[in-house]
Symmetry: C2
Subunit: 193 residues, 2 copies
């Protein structure tokens, strides 16, 4: 159950066996079947989720009913609506399983308690945030500078593991394109090879 989490932690900081065991007690395991929600828009986000297995996505829905994919997350990643999680306000995001998934949940209070109990866990969280922030900045930069085709190629090379596991229209939504446009772009690329 905790393999992926421990691997993720030990890539960033050094914890003793006892500390790792202590960590375990703060998490709530949870299984999610494909299409089930971890969080629905209009609810308050009470969990920070670590993914042991599976794929999740976080998205918004606009007035016209179009979905806009804000984030993908697979094994070894964290996902949550951090704003709602930290402020306690109602969320504007939906978080849903794309595949059957296994999660480890951390409530707001459990997270704080864990950071107090295991100070290195706070460092681990800070380092995760740094990486997430850098990835976000790179995504912003990509949306500002790249054409639709460049964005797609950039995505496939950056996240080769995700492409095979999620429907193409979700990738389109992540890239800010319509499914039709992404389909045409893929055709263009295939014709050129």
């Amino acid at each position: 159950m905790f393999e992926q989490l421990f691997k993720s932690i030990q890539e960033k900081v050094i914890l003793s066996e006892a500390e790792l065991e202590l960590c375990k007690t703060f998490f709530i395991p949870k299984k999610l079947r494909k299409k089930q929600f971890l969080l629905q828009e209009g609810n308050s986000s009470t969990y920070n989720a670590f993914i042991e297995k599976g794929v999740l996505r976080s998205y918004t829905v606009d007035e016209k009913g179009n979905e806009h994919l804000v984030q993908f997350a697979i094994e070894g990643w964290w996902i949550s609506d951090l704003y709602s999680f930290l402020s306690g306000t109602v969320s504007t995001y939906n978080i849903e399983a794309v595949e059957n998934s296994e999660l480890l949940l951390l409530t707001t209070t459990a997270r704080e308690a864990l950071m107090d109990a295991v100070p290195m866990f706070e460092r681990y969280q800070r380092m995760l945030l740094q990486n997430a922030y850098i990835a976000m900045q790179s995504r912003i930069s990509s949306t500002l500078t790249e054409t639709a085709e460049e964005k797609y190629i950039h995505f496939t090379t950056t996240y080769p593991g995700i492409i095979q596991r999620v429907p193409q229209h979700m990738v389109a939504s992540y890239l800010g394109l319509t499914p039709e446009t992404l389909s045409r772009i893929r055709k263009q690329i295939s014709l050129r090879i």
Copy 2:
């Protein structure tokens, strides 16, 4: 000199007078005149900068020579190329003063030493990162869902303090628009009022 920084820290965590004084010793004060660079593309980013006074911007330049604004930052904000700063790799961003500015610089090693000397500084940094991450996520969401006009209005209401202090073409670049388009959008809005 340290007023803004202390204010920023004390909004997030509680430090003793002695700890605040200790913090001071890790920073290097630096003044930057308008159009001077804190970091130029191709160099390695050695500083994490806190802005005591002024406005900076961080941007990339594409093959065609167009600038793409990745971030604005004013008094009380931090700015750096976190990726280059943390990894030691060469930066693809330029960071430049938009107005004459006063900064407090933290080197990679000074930052680590400060977090070890004052553990609450690490918490402060983590909380900053959380907020920055949330703001980024909201910006991504905005680029995915909003029209050019909505993005502009969103920006003016979210950062009213920035609009008056930076040239309009920089705002256009931040929003992923051409200066001409932003000019037309502003005209549209003014005609409707």
